[in-house]
Assembly symmetry: C2
Homo-oligomer: 341 residues x 2
DNA sequence: GTCCCGTCAGACAACGTTGTCATGTAGAAG
DNA sequence: CTTCTACATGACAACGTTGTCTGACGGGAC
């Protein structure tokens, strides 16, 4: 293994100078800088992460924390984060913390306090539902870890966030249904206590209001963002005489569930009912009919959050970016919506 | 931050003794051992990963390497690996290397050689298609990294592997179709140069042979394990007068594609054709009809591989386990198979 | 010519742990 | 009673890097 000492000897300088060059510190003459760089390249020198982080108290690691790893949403974020991490020379760590129970902040601390002592990541990326709990972001910041939230607005100045305008996106989908003549539209909610759930519901109600359509409590049913809850919700909404002509499911997995629920009841989409999802996750184009939905730039969430984190602790020289960033969503028209009867 | 020195002072011993206790080394009296443990607990001591790995040249990291992170198969493995990592105090790192090109071994080296210099993971988990390339496993072993392969047999004594009996599983599925009276069964292959592709195909042919059914070249069509290739393959097989009465897709994503292909041609499964998948991935129960398939214990692949890796470099005291481990698969009967017309 | 300041480079210590070696003790074997 | 061995503990150095401090040099202001 080649160390800084080897490079230093080859370049005829001290180790400290090599260190300065490697870390792009000032006060090294250009000629020397070049000589060191050449020597390092010749020897194939790569700094030791352990030594580095032992001495400098930085870990060059970014951690993605989620309550579950097996959902396409988290997956895509991970892919984006990893892309940026690899490009910037950081390591991506993943961690899950399922079932937070009553006191998620405390559960979170219990789980991660020891880990912070062993090795503190330079930054943490939080996704829903953790992103929605302010206490978690606050605690991490206080522990000296940079935080980026995905999919939820940040109330803290120190915490960066990236998301889409969920309200507007939900409006787009609902408007599409209304434009197709649907006047009674069922709605399946997401997990409770998440901003996405509320925002999407708000968007739905607001479009109904704009068009003077009545809001019917009975057309709204709970869900948990997963397939099974979509099937259940779909059955609740469709298995009755006065069933709605369209259903807005708060994400694609649940929308896929509604399609299956329909089949169980002998109803085929989009002939017998229209259905829209949300997220444009992988399943959206694998169902029949393929789902009309809203695309979230999930991969970009990952890259933007990671880039922003790195910018933070590399000592951002430029202007301080606004801590809340909103990316564009886009309506994806497929085959699950048809004109109302 | 509390260090070993703090613990040592509180327990009235030397740092070395604390180190011995923390690492479960011998030659410490039980009484002392207890005193040190208590002191450590009282102070909430957690060893510093950086210092540890700098000195001991172990990283306490396990890396999962795949060509893509966004498939349910890899996802489940990751979940399993993470579970074990968290329990054993290891960190799970993830890395992707897409598009290996002509010389995958070289591409692999190019990508990971620098990383090994910075920080060498204690072990690496390889999934297909990397698991199928012997040169990669050999290179990593030679670099001093423990290797576990998933889903492919290991030819090296030093490399552990875990998988199911793909041949037997494919036989189970094919037999099921034959028992339902199907005599002309289409087959969609997986990515080429992967053992899973060959084994599944072999299983299919072998059952045909057992039952004296003719093997028709025209009923076999290529695929790449992804949804789109399933749609294409499905169209090729089903869009003709002499179409098969059943299709064996080499995984669930492609099977879902065949269902969609059928819809495009006005054919509905399982009324007009039967279809089976492979893997029992998430999509298998989200299609209509839900897919009859074979369940691979993918999560267990992750936990077993990780456990085995850790056992390796923690200096396995017990007998040396056989390096190839085969887990049980199971046939999952759902709704996509019906009796042949 | 003197003083000061900005630039540039190196010597040295420190980060928190583990490997190596030396030393001490107690019991068994001779 | 001595010698040997196995067990127990500690002192010290080392891992590879970066932070701190010190010093040399050159140029501009007085």
């Amino acid at each position: 293994m080649t160390t800084m000492l080897d490079v230093a000897q080859r370049a005829g300088v001290s180790v400290k100078t090599v260190s300065r060059v490697i870390n792009n510190e000032p006060y090294v003459q250009d000629a020397l800088r070049e000589r060191v760089k050449t020597a390092a390249r010749d020897l194939g020198y790569v700094p030791s992460a352990s030594a580095r982080s032992l001495r400098s108290r930085r870990s060059y690691q970014i951690q993605l924390i989620s309550h579950i790893m097996t959902t396409p949403y988290v997956h895509a974020i991970q892919a984006g984060a990893m892309q940026t991490c690899q490009a910037e020379g950081y390591q991506l760590l993943v961690a899950v913390l399922p079932d937070c129970g009553d006191d998620p902040v405390d559960a979170f601390r219990q789980r991660f306090e020891p880990q912070l002592a062993t090795k503190k990541p330079d930054g943490v990326i939080l996704v829903p539902p953790f992103a929605d709990i302010d206490g978690i972001g606050a605690w991490l910041t206080q522990q000296g870890v940079a935080v980026a939230k995905i999919g939820a607005q940040s109330t803290l100045d120190s915490v960066f966030s990236v998301r889409i305008d969920e309200f507007a996106a939900a409006r787009d989908l609902t408007s599409l249904l209304v434009e197709h003549g649907h006047r009674r539209i069922g709605f399946i909610r997401g997990r409770e206590n998440e901003s996405a759930t509320e925002e999407r519901f708000r968007g739905y109600r607001s479009v109904l209001g704009d068009h003077g359509l009545p809001f019917e409590e009975g057309l709204v049913t709970p869900g948990t963002f997963d397939f099974a809850s979509g099937v259940e919700g779909g059955v609740r909404l469709l298995d009755r005489a006065d069933r709605p002509t369209a259903v807005f499911a708060s994400n694609d997995d649940m929308a896929a569930g509604v399609i299956v629920a329909g089949h169980r009841l002998g109803l085929v989409a989009p002939r017998d009912f229209s259905i829209v999802g949300f997220d444009d996750s992988a399943i959206a184009e694998k169902t029949w009919p393929a789902l009309t939905t809203v695309r979230q730039p999930v991969l970009a969430f990952g890259t933007v959050a990671t880039t922003e984190l790195i910018r933070t602790f590399e000592g951002a020289p430029g202007a301080s970016e606004p801590p809340n960033r909103i990316l564009d969503h886009c309506l994806v028209l497929r085959d699950s919506v048809s004109a109302a009867p």
